[in-house]
């Protein structure tokens, strides 16, 4: 099989009305099936823009700068399903994995509950991965 370079990317742009006082955690995943080739993960990255602030609150809400992202790679070894997880950020190639079956790129961010104030929420979370299949 010839070397095929692939990209997987998922962005969530979330906005809430100012009437809302509780927001749930953010989770999403993009996935793709592979062709049983040898897979090398070349790069995983996550970006975050915006965030959450209390409306009419003297106490600002703070949290981490980035979301959490990981790439789950599934492959077959001797007929048994195997899984390897790769965390972002990573910019060096992974070891090669033969018989690649699927990749799932997951991203998540925190939820909030405010007992005192409404929440201003506008956050964009993006994750991407590059991988080769040969």
């Amino acid at each position: 099989m010839a070397l095929v370079s692939k990209m997987l990317q998922f962005t969530i742009d979330q906005q809430l009305s100012q009437d809302v006082a509780t927001i749930g955690p953010l989770f999403g995943e993009a996935f793709e099936f592979l062709n049983s080739g040898t897979v090398t993960v070349r790069e995983i990255a996550v970006q975050r823009l915006g965030g959450i602030a209390g409306n009419n609150s003297a106490i600002p809400l703070t949290e981490s700068n980035n979301g959490f992202a990981e790439l789950r790679l599934f492959w077959s070894q001797g007929g048994n399903l195997q899984e390897a997880d790769f965390l972002a950020p990573s910019h060096v190639p992974s070891p090669p994995f033969a018989n690649g079956l699927a990749v799932i790129l997951q991203v998540e961010d925190l939820g909030f509950t405010s007992a005192q104030a409404n929440l201003n929420v506008a956050r964009r979370l993006g994750v991407h991965a590059y991988f080769d299949e040969e």
């Binding site: 998922f10 809430l16 009305s17 506008a122």
Partner: protein, 130 residues
């Protein structure tokens, strides 16, 4: 509820209360090969200072080659059933079916195109500062 997206592109989902007001909205963008898919689980309720509010998802727009389902159902079928379940009025149902639900003000995302961007001329005044 689970939003399942098949195919690359961008979609906008508004989550409305029984009065048709958008309480939450999400713009989801998926990029990759034609075989890429995505899953986004969403809770169909929020808490406000006035109490618990049930929501219904409304698919405002999606990419031309994308197929979107809500909990395994066609999105418009799920939306109408959910709107009735949470007690939307007839006028809200009409607004949903006519595509007249107002999204929250936001900047649209950038989707890859087949056109070169137009660069502003040197010394041009940005429209926002005129």
């Amino acid at each position: 509820m689970e939003i399942i997206i098949n195919g690359p592109g961008e979609l906008l989902v508004c989550f409305i209360d029984p009065q048709g007001k958008t309480m939450l909205q999400e713009r989801l963008r998926v990029s990759g090969s034609d075989g890429v898919s995505a899953r986004r689980p969403v809770n169909l309720s929020v808490e406000t200072r006035k109490g618990h509010v049930e929501l219904s998802p409304v698919l405002k727009s999606h990419g031309g080659t994308q197929h979107v389902t809500f909990d395994g159902q066609e999105s418009n079928k799920f939306t109408m059933a959910r709107c009735k379940e949470i007690g939307c009025s007839e006028s809200v149902l009409r607004a949903v079916s006519d595509g007249r639900i107002e999204p929250l003000p936001t900047e649209p995302g950038h989707v890859p195109t087949r056109e070169l961007p137009v660069r502003p001329q040197h010394g041009a005044v940005p429209p926002s500062s005129r």
